[in-house]
Symmetry: C2
Subunit: 210 residues, 2 copies
DNA sequence: GTCTATAAAAGGATAGAC
DNA sequence: GTCTATCCTTTTATAGAC
């Protein structure tokens, strides 16, 4: 019995669920690789190898390499969106929410860094899809809205000064992207320290004394 | 007479200088393309076409594709370093220097964005060279030192509060990278507006009232 | 120096057996 | 569903003429 046959034998039975698993395995392998290096630097065979399947199988589950990339990007954005919603719905108090927001970027730094990397690669690629463009827009909108709301709440209860809530939100969001990028270019970067500095600056910006 | 022969005839005479020009033309074409898309997405023929020469000629001037990429990266960093030094040596007054520093990132946004993109591509590539790693480290060191010095001077003359000058410098530098990245992912981003917000936050952070 | 021609390898994608 | 075999195209790189 060959390796492949053994594997097949183990997975025998409900073939529907297997297919979903396999699809997910391939997607996961693709996401890992696409977020490490560039789209064109990743080969179909490499993805298949990481997923532990034959490269032809990728064409059974996905139309072509680009479709696989799109699926991987949507997956990454969806996961991040989930984290965002979780933090947002956990806090009613604006200071706690924003502190936790910053903390999340330290804790999940490697995931968020991957997302930023993959978003950059997509943005500087030729072929854009309307759907993905919308997904990405939506994603940043959600982030900005969560932060904007928090700043507004802080102003309403008299904790923060009268700055533009939207500007403050864009500011924090942009800086966090900067931290992620800098930690790609300079892997030695002290992410926690960089986020601490952002926290100090952000509170100074909105006029909050911790 | 073919096109190529005509071009050759025009360039007749001192062949030494011609070689330098041609070398530069190729390098310039490579830099343009490498900063637009990823290393692996750019082909030798594409570079040659943009430079207006045959693709084989690239191997006369550069050992291989990687050597050409390295040269392009050094060129981009060198150019940015030149801009940095220029702004730094123009000001003795810290507030002016920092304001001009921010302004430079608006004015030269497309160049700096390209640099950030190419630095990211290099960082997430497999093959690293000791020389390039050092060039990049040096580059960020120079930026941090210029800003750190300015903050220290501002503190000495009593304009700024007692914050860590290095932390303030890293903060500004990181945020500017964030602005560049965000403007890649979202081309609609209002760069001038984003830098304005940074300016406000930075002055709040160091306790300066403009 | 610059080009033509071409070798050599790699990568994406498909046909078809099982 | 998954694999083997293979085709086709692209791409890097070299040899050699001019």
């Amino acid at each position: 019995m060959t390796k492949a046959q053994t594997a097949k034998a183990i997975r025998k039975g409900s073939s529907q669920k297997d297919a979903l698993d396999r699809r997910q395995e391939i997607l996961s392998a693709a996401l890992n690789l696409f977020s490490m290096r560039d789209y064109s630097a990743i080969t179909i065979k490499e993805i298949a190898q990481l997923a532990g399947v034959n490269s032809s199988l990728l064409y059974y589950y996905y139309e072509d390499k680009e479709a696989l990339f799109r699926a991987a990007l949507e997956e990454a954005v969806g996961a991040a969106m989930g984290n965002y919603d979780e933090v947002a719905s956990k806090h009613s108090e604006p200071v706690d929410l924003i502190n936790d927001w910053f903390q999340m970027h330290v804790t999940l730094a490697s995931d968020i860094r991957r997302l930023v990397k993959i978003l950059m690669d997509y943005s500087s690629s030729q072929s854009h899809s309307r759907v993905l463009d919308d997904v990405i827009s939506k994603f940043y909108d959600v982030e900005i809205q969560i932060l904007t709301k928090a700043v507004k709440r802080g102003q309403r209860v008299g904790l923060f000064n009268k700055v533009s809530p939207n500007a403050a939100a864009v500011f924090a969001s942009t800086h966090l992207d900067g931290v992620m990028v800098r930690s790609i270019i300079q892997p030695r970067l002290d992410i926690a320290g960089a986020v601490d500095a952002l926290r100090d600056a952000f509170w100074a910006y909105v006029g909050y004394k911790p």
